[in-house]
């Protein structure tokens, strides 16, 4: 499928991508995440062959690529249908494919609308339709949720899931972490052009994440807080509950049982991708 081996790209004195290597998992969604200027778009352009690496190699043996890098790019004076038909013609595809794709992305009613007259969301949908021309085996999308409303984001998540179910491999760069979190199989965290880590679900919790504990009595709460403080554990009173920082629920329960305190409730927030990404970026800075 697609393999990126020790790829670097330099613009003048700036190293946009620095020795990145990874391979895409077939039939799954891989996301590239990182702060602005971390090299996400450059990495996607390298994968798509729009720019050439200074060192390293991108191999796309046997794969057909569809992509949408940054904002969609079409002829402003031509209609949605005409723009897609131009591309389909170049690819040797029948006109029927264009009609089907416009239907699929919800633009069938607007097929005659000039590109320059379309809303940003409609332009994005047309860009996605172009990327899907010819049913590519690999789909590369850069910030696909930008300019899309919440319904369209939901539609996109479903579309990507259905494509993956049919075997399409997806690579996306995104800043909007929650939008597609449930669909991601892997996340490449980039910073300053370097691949810091590859994350996979379940996402790791933040070391500062806490467990919220409820007790039978106020005395139990005070006594447990005192015990943990003596052991150097950070605790924070939160109403009638106590937040224990850096421990998981199992460890809190175990310790309470050891000191003879009855715990009546434990709330442990689920680890999120945002936490995992921020952890990775944070540990890199420190």
């Amino acid at each position: 499928m697609i393999a990126v081996a020790d790829v670097s790209k330099r613009y003048g004195r700036d190293l946009a991508v620095d020795g990145v290597s990874f391979a895409l998992e077939p039939g799954a969604i891989t996301a590239v995440m990182g702060p602005n200027g971390s090299g996400k778009t450059t990495l996607l352009r390298l994968v798509c062959g729009l720019i050439r690496p200074n060192t390293g190699q991108v191999s796309i043996a046997g794969a057909t690529l569809g992509y949408l890098i940054e904002e969609p790019a079409f002829y402003p004076s031509l209609s949605a249908h005409r723009n897609l038909w131009l591309l389909a013609r170049a690819a040797g595809l029948p006109r029927q494919d264009v009609d089907n794709l416009l239907e699929q992305v919800g633009l069938a009613r607007h097929r005659g609308l000039r590109y320059e007259s379309m809303s940003l969301g409609m332009q994005k949908r047309l860009g996605i339709a172009a990327a899907l021309l010819g049913s590519p085996s690999v789909l590369v999308l850069d910030e696909p949720t930008a300019n899309l409303d919440v319904y369209a984001v939901e539609w996109l998540a479903q579309l990507l899931d259905s494509l993956c179910a049919k075997g399409t491999t997806v690579l996306i760069a995104t800043q909007q972490i929650p939008a597609l979190e449930g669909s991601l199989a892997r996340v490449l965290v980039l910073s300053e052009g370097r691949l810091l880590r590859t994350l996979e679900p379940p996402w790791e919790k933040n070391k500062d994440s806490c467990v919220s504990v409820a007790f039978e009595t106020e005395a139990d709460r005070s006594r447990f807080a005192e015990t943990l403080r003596k052991e150097g554990v950070e605790v924070r009173p939160q109403g009638a509950r106590l937040e224990v920082v850096g421990w998981d629920a199992r460890k809190v329960n175990q310790r309470a049982w050891e000191v003879g305190i009855v715990v009546v409730g434990l709330m442990e927030p689920e680890a999120t991708l945002s936490e995992a990404v921020f952890n990775t970026l944070g540990s890199n800075e420190s």
Binding site: L50, A73, Y75, L87
Partner: protein, 250 residues
């Protein structure tokens, strides 16, 4: 993916309304300007200023006098219009950032380049034929003779004119590939043909045949062989391709 598909797609782009409007307007203006100038210079319909004293007679399409004046005059005007199309066909892709969309459906840069060149050659040939015949019609008036032999012979002249147009177009194409901006490329192209080259010609007239404008005129008048024009235009396009093949796309 075939070169035929790439060329067909490019031809569809060249037929887009905005480009047609620009080309048609520019053609009409240059044609009207040429007709007005020639009519002012001609003593009578069917007579050309370069051949004073010729008896009134029916003109043939392949008359040397006609070829030496009217058609070339129009074609030289029109070659600039066609060169603009060659320039815009490249720089509009940069302006709209559509290279990346084009290269998505056709990853072969060679095929994309070939598609563009083939479609532009087709447009140039059509433009040369239509313009030459139209100019013959305007200049010859009712006195022109449309015999089969004359039209057949005229085809070789149209071919030479096409060669001249393609040569100018190829220069525009190369400029477009290098500077990636329509305004800059057209500024350089028109600046050269309208200002720089005439200035050089005034200074060193004997260099005329080696300068692009002079070479184009020689090709159109068949003072230079067509194969030489094709060879030089091919080298210019090859230079363009060597840049296109390795460049990065936004």
């Amino acid at each position: 993916m075939k070169a035929r598909d790439a060329a067909a797609s490019e031809l569809m782009k060249l037929r887009r309304p905005i480009l047609l409007t620009v080309v048609t307007t520019a053609s009409v203006l240059s044609g009207a300007l040429g007709a007005l100038l020639l009519q002012a210079m001609m003593p009578a319909v069917g007579r050309f200023p370069v051949a004073p004293g010729l008896p009134d007679r029916r003109w043939q399409l392949n008359d040397p006098e006609y070829l030496a004046s009217g058609a070339q005059f129009f074609v030289q005007q029109f070659s600039v219009v066609i060169a603009i199309v060659w320039v815009l066909s490249v720089t509009r892709e940069d302006q709209f950032k559509t290279w990346r969309t084009v290269l998505m459906v056709n990853r072969s840069r060679k095929l994309v380049f070939e598609g563009k060149v083939v479609s532009l050659l087709a447009v140039s040939a059509a433009a040369a034929g239509i313009t030459a015949i139209a100019s013959a019609w305007i200049l010859g008036g009712s006195g022109i003779e449309w015999s089969f032999g004359a039209v057949w012979s005229f085809m070789s002249d149209v071919l030479a004119i096409t060669g001249a147009i393609v040569f100018v177009g190829a220069i525009g194409f190369l400029l477009g590939v290098v500077v990636r901006s329509g305004t800059s490329a057209l500024g350089l192209l028109l600046g050269w043909f309208l200002i720089v080259e005439p200035a050089i010609m005034t200074w060193r007239g004997r260099w005329r045949g080696f300068l692009p404008g002079g070479f184009t005129a020689d090709l159109a008048r068949q003072n230079r062989p067509l194969w030489l024009g094709i060879l030089v235009a091919g080298m210019v396009l090859l230079a363009g391709y060597s840049i296109f093949r390795v460049r990065d796309f936004d």
